[in-house]
Amino acid sequence: METYIKNFCEKVVDALRKIPKNEIAKAINIIQAAYERNGRIYIFGNGGSLAIATHWVSDFNKTVFSHHLDKSTRRFQAIRLPSTESELTAWANDIGYDMVFAGPLKNYLQESDVVIAISSSGNSLNIVKAVELAKARHIPVIGLSGFDGGKLNELADAKVLVSTKKGEYEVVESVHGTILHLLTRYFGDYFDHMAKQQS
């Protein structure tokens, strides 16, 4: 049993060690630029990735300004798409699963926004369609992928690939969670730092 646990942990640690730090730095700069122009962040994924997206949005929205919510008039919004289950099922039922992200995104997306797409294989058709929509409008895309990165890693501006053997969903999703927590923490620390400097 111990060996099994150790092996799994080692796979996760190994994947973590190899994460592309410059691409994460690039992702941070993309998000920073969106903040500067009052843009919004849209994030989406399928299954476990959708759960990760939802988790991230709740953390990010709640904590980036948590220490100075009253002082700051400026806001920074992250939105998970689709934002309701009703919208998700409506697109899936009426049009098809391929459009569950691209459909809502088309309605929300403005020039000042950015997109974070999560797909372990990088090849989920609905993810690729939404990313293609964003790219066609020159919206910066942060792509969190796994395995060999697939189409998402090709298309994304910030190519955050968690490189693993094909099928290692648990490893990829664990590391995606870590990277998204890093983003939240970075901006939380950053805004705290700026608030301290101004006081």
Binding site: K26, A33, S112, H138, Y186, M194, Q197
Partner: protein, 342 residues
């Protein structure tokens, strides 16, 4: 109405090596950062304007055809896209014109992006940088390089490499917020109150590119060293490099510095700055210092004293923050393209 903005920039070292007279022989290299001072282009279709075109900048003008406009950039940009009338173009800027912070190129970048949008065309940062360079260098015929257009279009802290085949490599420099805000804290930027035109200084620099080839080369070679010190957070070392770069740059053309600029520079250094430079092509514009924390007030009052001595009424300290954003669309709706509102 379409509203687009693009940031001004501070170039640290390598400025001037983006001139084709140099980089067609040996790659040019510049390191710069976008700052939170923007130029805005506002473009609005005016189908009810009775065939008029108008431009508002430091003054306002109106004409029956865009070729009759006096403002070079706006006229040539409109003609480039074949837009003849029924449009208003207005500009705003956070900083004085000709301040050496690349504001005129930020305006060109914002304008080209806005006019593309007006026609329903999309373009990425590189395409907009190239279009703005084409506007300024080929159409308006300013004898300038491409560093400002690229800095405005891409934003952030970047190393730009200008290759002999005219292509440009863009390499981001990733600083975390701690290093970034520490560096911002050491930077003191003063607008001298002397508006300068880049073109006269740059024309002489270009003409000297052969004669001064090795100096240009040394300036481009300072960039990797500057980048390394930046990543290491060696701010004193950065000051020393800025100083070295400024001394080299001064030798490139006779009018890069003058006695007033030399006064400013000497005063800042005497008051304890690590190093500094004149921003932009030279001859006026802004003087920047990298200063240790305990010496900032001394440098501030020394610079103010020089301004007073030379009666520079428009002298002012410009507080800066670095920004990641490049050219960006703040409002991208052309009402004519929205069927239910037309």
């Amino acid at each position: 109405m379409i509203i687009v903005r693009a940031p001004a920039r501070i170039s640290f070292v390598g400025g001037g090596t983006d001139l084709p007279a140099f980089y067609t022989q040996s790659p040019g290299c510049v390191i710069s950062t976008a700052i939170n001072k923007y130029s805005y282009a506002v473009v609005n279709r005016q189908p009810l304007a009775h065939g008029k075109v108008s431009a508002r900048y430091s003054t306002a003008e109106s004409a029956g055809h865009s070729r009759e406009l006096k403002n070079n950039r706006i006229r040539e940009a409109l003609l480039h896209f074949g837009i003849e009338h029924d449009v208003d173009v207005t500009t705003f800027s956070d900083i004085p014109i000709n301040s050496g912070l690349g504001a005129s190129s930020s305006f060109s970048v914002a304008l080209m992006k806005a006019l593309l949008l007006l026609q329903g065309k999309e373009a990425d940062q590189r395409e907009v940088a190239e279009l703005a360079s084409h506007l300024e260098i080929n159409l308006v015929k300013d004898p300038i390089g491409k560093q400002d257009q690229y800095a405005a279009a891409f934003g952030g802290m970047k190393v730009f490499r200008f290759n002999p085949d005219h292509s440009v490599d863009v390499e981001p420099v990733y600083l975390d917020y701690k290093k970034q805000s520490a560096l911002e804290g050491h930077i003191q930027l003063f607008y001298t109150g002397i508006a300068r035109l880049a073109s006269s200084v740059l024309a002489e620099q270009s003409a000297n590119a052969q004669k001064k080839f090795s100096t240009f080369k040394e300036m481009a070679d300072l960039v990797p060293e500057f980048r390394a010190k930046l990543l290491a957070g060696d701010f004193r070392g950065l000051g020393t490099l800025l100083h070295a770069g400024w001394l080299k740059k001064k030798t490139l053309a006779s009018n890069i510095s003058n006695s007033v600029i030399d006064d400013f520079y000497a005063a800042g250094m005497d008051a304890g700055a690590w190093g500094g430079k004149v921003l932009g092509a030279g001859g006026g514009g802004c003087v920047m210092f990298l200063t240790p924390n305990g010496r900032k007030l001394a440098v501030q009052s020394a610079a103010a004293a020089v301004a007073k001595k030379h009666n520079l009424e428009n002298f002012i300290e410009i507080p800066v923050r670095f920004v990641q954003s490049g050219v960006e669309v703040l409002l991208g709706h052309d009402q004519d393209n929205v069927p239910h509102l037309a």
